[in-house]
Amino acid sequence: MPSNLLSIILFTPLAGLLVLLFIPSTQKRMIRLWANIVAAAGFLVSIPLILNFNKDLDGYQFVERADWIPSLGVQYLIGVDGISVLMVMLTTIMGLIAIFSSWDSIKEREKEYYAMFLLQQTGMIGVFISLDFLLFYIFWELVLVPMYFIIGVWGGPRKLYAAIKFFLYTLAGGVLMLLGILTLYFQHATQFGRYTFEISELMKLNLPLGMQQWVFWAFFLGFAIKVPMFPFHTWLPDAHTEAPTAGSVILAAVLLKMGTYGFIRFSLPLLPSASSDKTIVTILAVLSIIGILYGALVSLMQQDWKKLVAYSSVSHLGFCTLGIFALNQSGIAGSVIQQINHGISTGMLFLIVGVIYERRHTREIKEYGGLAHVMPNYAIVFAFAMLSSAGLPLLNGFVGEFTILQGAFDANRVWAAFAVLGVIFGAAYLLWLYQRTMLGEVTNEKNKGLPDLNWREWAVFVPLMIWAVAIGVYPKPYFDILEKPVAQIVHRVHQTANTVANAPAATEAASR
């Protein structure tokens, strides 16, 4: 196993992109084939990572360090712990699936399309493995441009509006986050006399609570818009609805996770006293619960199939952030697992919408009905995805939601009580959607004679279904891999919170 495995994983898509640029754009088949080869290679090189990852070790593994901009203290510093290794795997797998699923659906400007996907792939992996804050920020912003194009060029009728809205929202949050990063950087330099963006160095900072709170809100805007948490979610339904299928899949499965990952990796460990501050925790928990319930209720009202799935994301991501701010082992571990689950099940749901959209070119729910008679295999896959998303035991969704609720219950029973309502609503809108589209008689003439899943579509769904069952039946490996890093974060948050509570004056004095 090479020592620079992470760099290989990071740059495989980019290298593939550079080669892709030399393929003439008239060679459509060649372009498609090459993009799939690169995506598959990206997945293959990430396999040794999970196989060789030692879950019993503390700290980061596969660390690579090189000076990048020495006069600013910026390093090319990458590494993974249990949380990021799962995110990297999620990215490489979903990237492959998304690119593969575009085979038939993208018929124009293929070269640019696949180029954008590969660029985005590198950006997303970079976000999850950066241990240098500025490096992280650069990857974070890098992801925006390809997604803008994916939505803006290959999207639906209102694609330009959705694309720029996505861009403006997430960028506005991003630059404010940059201010927070720069504040930490500067504070570190004044306390230790050395300019660095290295996260483990920044963790040594001892900041007064007031400043931590300001920085927390700066980070919050960056991450919460990305997640998106209520009330910053309004870009999401537009972006999801207008994006091409594969774009929606990546957006839901990986891009949104950058926000929740940011909370776990940066907000909690870097700003422990602010993250455990009672007011802040309450505000975030309440926003999460509003997100859960609001997302679910709005989903119930949707006429548009894809928009329904989009709003369900708001609800599911609400669970993830609630788990994080329960600030205990099961809450955070559950949140990470739920993030993967959401990637699998919502990814599947978007793919399912994509399948029918390609056949009928409409997403109106009332256009459909009784599809189970016409496309039985499709109905089975949909049922599977729906149940996984709704959290049926023995499927993946249950594991995540259950653990999060357990964590929330430990933190505050009222939160758990409200969140459980979200589970019920979730089952309601999904089952109702299924009933309206799949069950009953075929009411619309146009739906008769629709072809069932072809082999390519099967090839997309089967791995996801297997993965869903695997997590649902045997989630232990995931909990094992998450145990150490999550315990570290929880420990850090509570330990610092206690010292601050016991001796606030001392900390104040020390930080001056």
Partner: protein
Amino acid sequence: MSVYYTSTDHFVLLPALLLALFGCATLLFDFWVFPEAKHRRWLLIFLVLGEVFAGVAYFRQQMFLVSHGGDLSAFHGALVIDHYALFFHWIFLVTTLIVGLISYRYLEVRDEHHGEYYGLLMLAQCGMYFLASGTDLVTIFVGLETMAISFYILVGFLRSDQRSNEAALKYLLLGSFSSGFLAYGFSILYGIAGSTRLRDIAAAVSTRDAWNPILLLAMATTGVGLLFKISAAPFHMWAPDAYEGAPTTVTAFLAVGSKAASFALLLRVFIGPLGPARPSWEPLMIGAAILSMTIGNLAAVTQTNTKRLLAYSSINHAGYILLGLIAGNPTGIMGVLIYVLVYTFMNLGAFLVLTSLTRRGLAGEDINDLRGLMKKAPGHALAMLIFLVSLAGIPPTAGFLGKYFIFLSLVETGHYVLAVVGCAYVAVSIYYYFRMVKAVFVETGETDMPPLTVSFGTRVALGVTCLLTLGIGLYPEPFLRLAQLSISR
């Protein structure tokens, strides 16, 4: 040599001398040696030659400074060569070269190809030399006027174009107005110090209270004059008209060269002699910065002419650069230098792409003329994307680096509100930059448009600006070193 013209004086002045000589020679050559149109390329080659000579002179100066340390003062303190000045001189040199290279084809297409153009470019650059190197009010003022007068002519270079004439007249009127302000401010400074040397003025200013009324008057008039030159709001009114009417190549030169030179002067005057008066000028600068960002951004949103759009965007950028001056600590000054550097390349690049859109019978200045560029000229389109993303300040392009330093300096000096305002306007600016991106990549243009005509010079210039815009972003270390050297005194 006599005491009036020592060898040091010669060494310091040499680049400016060369530029002036080559500039004047170009005017004469155009008249006597190469009067025919087909020989005009020799004038361009002559310009390149002049720049090479000037470059060698700069290089020798730089080597001297590196080996001997300190700076070189000449003419009894009227001119100085330090790393700070050289930093700007290199920027002027590259700018003039690139503008010269892209002008050839553009002027042919617009049927206004006259040899004096190249001479004027070099004379303007000669004026810029004195702005960055001058340490005496009279020297500075003469340099400023040399540059400004060359620009008045260049802006109106399209003689048969009504808009170009209008732009030149507007620029002339408002420009001389601002020069008047500046001269007034300079005269009061002279009154305060009894000397026109900046270091004497610095000594005189430091003994006075920052709110001393005479000093305040001097500061305000000087400040207003300079804010005019950098086109910061509320003294920006000339910029959109001048930018729109001027030949696109001149617009690029105006937006980049003239602005960089004025910033070089602004920084030298306000950090140097007027530094002790910071309490009184800081509010003025904060107001100008916020207004520039507001007006620049909000007005750019509705523009349909790309040159006007970039004019407002340059007002916005002036606001950001002012923020670095407001912070005023080493990071802030560094931010100004880096920002000016990256702004030079990304803005030149953007204008360059616009220039290549100009074809016979098509001005190529409407935002819709960018449509379908991706299909017609993918190379240009990708370069434009890099420039626009960089102008918006998104990593990993060079534009991010400028914003990074500005924001960091604001955080360091506790100007949090300004930092947040600056951040908010980054998001606004995305909107109009991406209107151009949208036109280039998403929308499709009419297919019967004539193809782009791209000369060899344009190709080289595009390659250089593109490479630097991306390169400074990806590996900024050498450029940071250079800037760091410039601010270490």
